[in-house]
């Protein structure tokens, strides 16, 4: 009772400032990326290990086991592999997000280019307004990639990755398509059969022909397939209907409609970027307020610029196309 009285006195001295809750749209965006991580972490595990992994000691044993297997493989294929990290940490390489440590804050972002250092540098610049210091990518020992400033000591369990190491770019691009509102699985309300067919075609397009597509589990409810989870262990894409579709008149959907029209013009990268910015601004979205982030990825082998729109923390607009 004395404790309650003490607290009441403190509240009377310093009343709590009110805080406006996050909007439903922001919560939905945050939830989407979080749940993708959550489901991926389950789906990417071999089924026999799902229970065992809850015990840290076994988790370490699993890592060591995997390391042994990959190191053995490394001896065989060393000469054929250009980037060393694929040999050491294939589980971390086969990921589609990256954890950026930016001035003490941690943010998990969807991979944009597949280069974790480049992706976190861009995020750093966006968050702080100043260029990123030298950054280093690590296998964080939890099946993921973390990027820290080079002058920071990594936590125990982190393994430094070679400079220039990239994630599996095919997987990164495939995940972007799975989550894309412009032409990907989020571009409409697709049933299981249609989504399976579209996903199979996309896998071929991204050079993942050996992968197969699995329909959503019975526990998923909802009429539309909204995303897919990549399982690099079994080379499968598990379709999901996480959380049900968003409202059709949401900003994200309205922007997607505009982006579809822009993509059809087949313009070079910079010209497309200008149009995309203006389309976002017309809808009241501000780049400075971090309501969207535009990422340009030059690809001079392409004839047109493609646009994808992903959500997760903010709206990511990824443009890939020729410089001229």
């Amino acid at each position: 009772m004395d404790d309650l009285l003490e607290l009441e006195k403190l509240r009377a001295l310093a009343p709590a400032p009110s805080v406006r809750p996050l909007s439903a749209e922001r919560v939905a965006m945050r939830k989407e990326i979080l749940m993708r991580e959550v489901v991926r972490s389950l789906d990417s595990r071999p089924s026999g290990l799902r229970t065992a992994l809850t015990f840290p000691r076994l988790q370490i044993a699993r890592r060591h086991g995997r390391l042994l297997v990959t190191l053995t493989a490394a001896v065989v294929v060393l000469s054929a592999t250009a980037v060393g990290w694929a040999l050491v940490t294939s589980s971390a390489r086969d990921t589609v997000s990256v954890q950026c440590e930016i001035q003490g804050s941690s943010a998990v972002i969807p991979s944009a280019t597949g280069d974790p250092v480049a992706d976190c540098s861009a995020r750093w610049q966006r968050d702080t307004g100043s260029p990123a210091p030298p950054l280093v990518a690590y296998d964080n020992g939890d099946g993921g990639v973390s990027v820290l400033p080079a002058d920071e000591t990594p936590p125990s369990g982190f393994t430094r990755l070679p400079a220039g190491a990239t994630q599996n770019v095919s997987m990164v691009e495939m995940q972007q398509w799975l989550d894309d509102y412009v032409t990907g699985l989020n571009s409409g309300c697709y049933n299981d059969a249609t989504a399976t067919q579209m996903t199979q075609q996309a896998l071929t397009r991204f050079g993942m022909g050996g992968w197969t597509v699995q329909a959503p589990p019975a526990s998923d409810t909802g009429p539309c397939v909204l995303t897919g989870i990549l399982d690099p262990t079994n080379h499968t894409v598990g379709l999901r209907t996480l959380g049900g579709p968003g409202p059709a008149d949401s900003i994200v959907e309205k922007l997607a409609a505009k982006l579809r029209a822009i993509a059809q013009q087949c313009a070079p990268l910079n010209a497309t970027a200008t149009q995309v910015r203006s389309a976002a601004n017309e809808l009241g979205l501000s780049e400075n307020a971090h309501q969207f982030e535009l990422i340009q990825i030059p690809d001079n082998t392409a004839t047109c610029t493609t646009i994808s729109e992903n959500v997760g923390g903010t709206i990511f607009l990824l443009l890939r196309g020729p410089s001229n």
Binding site: A14, S18, V19, M35, V38, Q103
Partner: protein, 208 residues
């Protein structure tokens, strides 16, 4: 849930530990804004708070096997994760602002109701309250926000921060003395305020 009754947090958490994403999604829906509000009140920046909230839940999922919650459910533990992340964030803010004699205090984004309250109450008192809070050691500020503004019980706050309940009690008592002194409340002399050296960590970890 056939009877339409919502499962308690503790029950949902048991399902989370067994690896059920849907249960985790429901906990996220329930407590997103609770953790977000705590982060805003600690860092004073909605954008940073949103990242911190999101990271809190991701850490919770990854470390779900480490947390066997009792009947109170996982919320105190979520606060604990958020408090750790906020501390790291604030240390980063400190580093960013290195060279300044004193770290400016993050201000909680005012809502219209705040502004009205300020006008009615007198801005000077609000300023003095803010100043007084900022004069507390960071660990006391953290505890103050958890217990006084977030309304956690002493036991919940102790569980969240991993400290004894007695420490919660003594720190809050010290906070009240300091606040009363700073606000010129009657009956408090400077000698009544316990010395910072008794249990407060050094300045180098950063004031908020």
């Amino acid at each position: 849930m056939g009877d339409g009754k919502e499962p308690a947090d503790a029950e949902l958490w048991e399902r989370v530990v067994s690896g059920e994403p849907q249960a985790f999604e429901r906990l996220f829906d329930r407590h997103t804004n609770t953790i977000f509000r705590f982060c805003v009140r600690r860092v004073g920046d909605r954008s940073a708070a949103e990242d911190l909230m999101s990271t809190t839940f991701l850490h919770a999922w990854r470390r779900r096997a480490d947390m066997q919650c009792g009947a109170e459910g996982p919320v105190p533990w979520l606060y604990g994760i958020a408090a750790n992340l906020v501390r790291r964030h604030l240390r980063g803010v400190d580093r960013r602002r290195a060279g300044m004699a004193r770290v400016p205090v993050p201000r909680v984004e005012p809502d219209p109701s705040d502004e009205i309250a300020d006008r009615l109450d007198g801005a000077s008192r609000a300023d003095r309250v803010g100043e007084a809070l900022r004069s507390l050691p960071e660990s006391d500020q953290e505890l103050f926000v958890l217990c006084v503004w977030e309304e956690l019980s002493y036991q919940q706050a102790a569980a969240a921060l991993g400290i004894p309940v007695g420490t919660v009690r003594s720190r809050l008592s010290r906070a009240r003395s300091r606040l009363r002194l700073a606000l010129g409340e009657p009956g408090v002399e400077s000698g009544d305020v316990p010395s910072e050296s008794t249990s407060v960590r050094p300045r180098k970890e950063g004031w908020v």
